[in-house]
Amino acid sequence: MIAIPLLMLAMYLVHIGVSTTVDPRADFYLCLPRCQDGFDAITEQYDLDTNVFLRPFSYFGGLFSGEGLGQSTSVGDPVSEVMRTRAWNTAMVAVPAFLIGVVLSLLLSVYSARRQYSIGDYTFTGLSFLGFAMPSFVLALILQVVFAVKFEQWTGLKPFNTGRKTGENFLQLARDVTLPAVSLAILGIAADSRFGRSSMLETLNQDYIRTARAKGLSERTVVWKHALRNALIPLVTLWALGFSVLLSGAVVTESIFSWPGLGQVFLRALGDADLDLLMAIVMFTGVLTVMFNLVADVLYGVLDPRIRLS
């Protein structure tokens, strides 16, 4: 439960960090005597006259006394409104990416553990090395080149879109979501499947698995019911942590596939010195991270009764 005061301290520090590194008045210094009104308006809006170390208190004070998250200058809507629509868009990519990641890393870890040192196992080991070394933007660009640009040149078909088009029915949505979701998912799979493989290998070597085999259970029951359940425990926590990473990893993927999500608007807010929106996004990701950390801890306790939460 130390997480909550820590989160508050982190937010305090982040606010100081954001307001010292991002200057919303940067454009005004050159024209100062003429545009004094605009300069003062911005100073007023963000309390820029107050001491940097005190500013977070007025910001968070305003937050809880009902002033809300403020107005976004770069998008032109209230911050809460921007956050709602953008978070929804990000979730549209992050949730499929999460599901793809979970299913594939699960299958891969079971496969690699069952067929240790087979050609398939070596192939996936090599691929995961590649996955570790590949920055997300390189992977996303490769996917974009191959499946969106070249695929159309080769076959004349365009199965996937790059970016959010207006189509609302499921098929349209799937065409838009596939590429960003897959490129987000693959990076997680590289790490998760390695981890799952060693966890599964460890479980398969345990005595109770030999007992299960000895009493004549089918291989399928042994692997998928007895072994997997225990091998899953560390993986589940990894997934819970990975979900919050997905939401933030979207910064790169969204900017490449021009997806109007949180990551994209974060970069815009950073470029336009949109302090209120920036703070809202940082807070949102921070709260999510802490929340999923807690979820991971709780899940760990639920799945493995030997572990007691202190």
Binding site: I2, A133, P135, V149, S255, V282
Partner: protein, 367 residues
């Protein structure tokens, strides 16, 4: 070899002896036990991937630092008549949209990325080791402080915090490296803390304390040398992740600022032409992947080499070594009577025993 009056018999005998010594040294048959460093070096050489990584890194360093000297272009030299050229004999990787030579720019970007990776990893390692040692050694308040500091840094996703600060301080390589290091020391601190915790209660530390050694002496003489292996592995992992993060930030326009190039900014520059010239996007991207792959392979090898419990890199190698050792022993026994130098015959007589000793050691003994 420098005898004034060469006697063919003596010469031959000396050659034989030297060859036998070299052979027995190479196969680990000499009586002198090998130092840990020597063993680690041999295990490292036996690790094929690590060798690939090391050689790959050397090639990349040569490519980034030395090869541009043979090119007549500067990394920020514009030539508007030769814009968007494909690869030619003059411009090895072609030119960009304002006619700058892409090979020289790529090399410059590679240098920049590698330099930032190294600086950030070294700073993060130093600070992380310090914090981890303090937390592990003194415990109590220090431990609570360091743990909470680590958790504090992990509350907000790194890329978000990095973006905010890199945007401000990323213009210089040193600034960007320091921003990255400020967030990445946490892992090392945890690893070091763990190692220190596990060894500080051992008898030899207690003995040192009983003998009146000061805290700093125990820390630097008795504890930190045990952490070196773990740290070396972490450094390579860290260099890899710093390079990935740096290129990501630079790709987003938050890190390295023009006219300087990093591999990330080169990808970003080329992104607009991705439809017509996908190769230009991929080249810097592939270099990033290559650097990080090589560094990771190196780390993998180091992990095996510096593990004090491992004697030989892996089973296959140890089998090979045993076979070679047996062969050498036979060879020596056959040639021993013809050799005139006493102490090599001893080697010949003991060769088999040593081979069996090695087998015992491999089945669980510690060096």
């Amino acid at each position: 070899m420098t005898t004034l009056d060469p006697d063919p018999d003596v010469d031959e005998a000396l050659d034989d002896a030297a060859a036998a010594r070299a052979l027995s040294d190479a196969e680990g048959l000499s009586d002198k036990p090998k130092s840990f460093g020597r063993l680690a070096w041999e295990r490292f050489l036996g690790h094929r991937l690590a060798l690939v990584g090391a050689i790959g890194l050397l090639v990349l360093v040569a490519l980034f630092w030395i090869a541009p000297m043979f090119s007549e272009f500067e990394f920020d030299e514009r030539d508007v008549r030769n814009r968007r050229l494909g690869p030619t004999a003059e411009h090895w990787f072609g030119t960009d949209e304002i006619g700058r030579d892409l090979f020289v720019r790529t090399a410059q970007g590679g240098r920049y990325s590698m330099r930032i990776g190294l600086i950030a990893a070294l700073v993060a390692t130093t600070f992380g080791t310090l914090m981890g040692t303090l937390a592990g050694f003194f415990g109590k308040a220090w431990d609570v402080l360091v743990n909470n500091l680590v958790n504090l840094i992990l509350t907000v996703p790194a890329i978000i915090v990095l973006s905010v600060f890199a945007n401000k301080f990323g213009a210089s390589a040193l600034g960007l490296a320091l921003v990255l290091a400020a967030l990445l020391w946490t892992r090392i601190a945890r690893v070091v803390r763990g190692v220190i915790l596990s060894i500080k209660e051992q008898e030899y530390v207690m003995a040192a304390r009983a003998a009146g050694a000061s805290n700093s002496r125990i820390m630097f003489r008795h504890l930190l040398p045990n952490v070196v292996g773990a740290i070396a592995v972490e450094i390579t992992l860290l260099v890899g992740s710093v390079i990935v993060l740096e290129s990501t930030l630079s790709f987003l326009g938050l890190g390295v600022k023009p006219p300087n190039a990093s591999l990330g900014t080169l990808v970003a520059d080329a992104k607009g032409d991705i439809d017509s010239d996908p190769l230009r996007v991929l080249t810097p991207g592939i270099f990033i992947v290559l650097i990080v792959l090589c560094v990771n392979f190196l780390g993998d090898g180091l992990r095996d080499a510096l593990d004090p419990r491992a004697k030989v890199a892996d089973n296959q190698n140890s089998k090979k070594a045993k076979r070679a050792a047996k062969k050498a022993a036979k060879e020596l026994q056959r040639t021993a009577p013809t050799m005139g130098v006493g102490d090599t015959t001893v080697v010949g007589a003991h060769a088999r025993n040593i081979v069996s000793d090695r087998n015992d050691e491999e089945s669980g003994g510690r060096p």
